[in-house]
């Protein structure tokens, strides 16, 4: 080995080492400020909002007459459906499906199922209690002043409107109410996280809920780091 080659090699090795070490440090600094989020998952039929929407304050009462507001939506997942008890077809069908979902999820999953009336004139807490408990003893019915209900339904893109009267001439007031038939999903932070549009399928809802919940849990994990 001649003297000139030795003198080029040592600085070259030093430089290369320096570059490698700097690159490693640069990467560590970069990745600390950019932890990375899990991929936004694909759902089967649900429309999932990876950036969920906080709900404006609302105030309703449940079928036992107790207050139910935003604070009651925390710490648990909630499935929410808007309908009315004088609905013979869509509401019983949907509540049946929601009961099937509740059964498949089981008690450990800790999801709650809410039925919000769009017909508070006829759907008193007592009327709601008899109705929701029939489909599942754990279901919660919600009612209140019409304005209070609309204050919640509108945020969630749910529409409702009183329709034609039927069986006119009878003592009881009979009318139908048209309403959105979507099932909404609220996360344990009380945010609007997803919507299931009709036609509803128990299996699709169960599968999509699992995907959405896994995504929510992993985001919470990432935020803690």
């Amino acid at each position: 080995m001649t003297q000139p080659e030795k003198s080029i090699l040592a600085p070259a090795v030093l430089l290369a080492t320096g570059l490698i070490i700097s690159s490693v440090f640069a990467y560590l600094i970069w990745s600390a400020g950019n932890p990375g989020t899990p991929e936004t998952p694909q759902t089967r039929t649900a429309t999932h909002f990876p950036s969920p929407m906080a709900l404006q304050p609302f105030n309703l009462i449940d079928h036992n007459g107790k207050t139910f507001d935003n604070s009651n939506l925390l710490e648990q997942w909630h499935f929410m459906f808007f309908g009315y008890t004088h609905c013979p077809d869509v509401c019983p069908s949907t509540l049946s499906i929601m009961s099937s979902v509740a059964h498949k999820l089981g008690e450990n999953e800790g999801a709650r199922f809410l039925f919000v009336t769009v017909d508070p004139a006829r759907d008193t807490p007592e009327q709601l209690a008899g109705f929701v408990r029939y489909f599942n003893p754990g279901f919660v019915g919600l009612t209140g002043e019409l304005d209070a209900i609309l204050q919640l339904s509108r945020q969630l893109g749910i529409m409702s409107s009183r329709e034609t009267a039927y069986a006119t001439g009878s003592k009881v007031e009979n009318y139908t109410v048209e309403h959105s038939a979507s099932i909404l999903l609220v996360n344990p932070d009380g945010q609007y996280a997803a919507v299931f549009s009709p036609p509803h399928s128990t299996n699709a809802i169960v599968e999509d809920f699992s995907i959405i919940r896994t995504y929510f849990d992993s985001r919470h994990q990432a935020q803690k780091q």
Partner: protein
């Protein structure tokens, strides 16, 4: 010659008349698989589902439906368009010959209003259909519980 012609013409006309009479009787409309969805005890309205077949040669219309178990019955059609569920009354259902109409959840159904007692899974309820030819057709619908609770 003329007499024979008249007799033959009369016989033809008579047979044609009989032919039409035969296809407008109740046997051309059949109602099958009728069931009523069991409802919560506080429910004032229930739904019935069934299949109507017109096996005759003429259109047949259902004008009205009655039952001893309900105050009134109407035909309604559920539509879900852009995620919004609506129910439209169908005042007269005309079924063309050779057709079948299925009343199913999410579609056509009988809206049964004002049950006079709570109906339970297994109960049999009489439903009577008045047709446009003035005839009445009665069937029994069975109450079915269809929720996994």
């Amino acid at each position: 010659m003329t007499t024979r012609f008249i007799l033959i013409a009369a016989a033809c006309l008579l047979n044609t008349g009989l032919l039409f009479a035969g296809t407008r009787d109740t046997r051309s409309l059949s109602i099958e698989e009728a069931w009523i969805r069991e409802a919560p005890p506080t429910a004032n309205v229930m739904a019935a589902y069934l299949t109507v077949k017109n096996t005759g040669r003429n259109p047949a219309s259902i004008l009205s439906i009655t039952s001893p178990a309900f105050n009134s019955i109407e035909i309604h059609r559920t539509t879900i368009i852009n995620g919004i569920a609506r129910m439209e009354p169908v005042n007269t259902l005309v079924i063309p010959p050779g057709n079948e109409v299925r009343f199913e959840p999410g579609g056509m159904h009988l809206m049964l209003v004002g049950p006079n007692r709570a109906l339970r899974d297994g109960d049999e309820i009489k439903l009577s259909f008045t047709l446009d030819n003035g005839n009445s057709l009665s069937i029994m619908a069975i109450v079915r519980q269809s929720t996994i609770r």
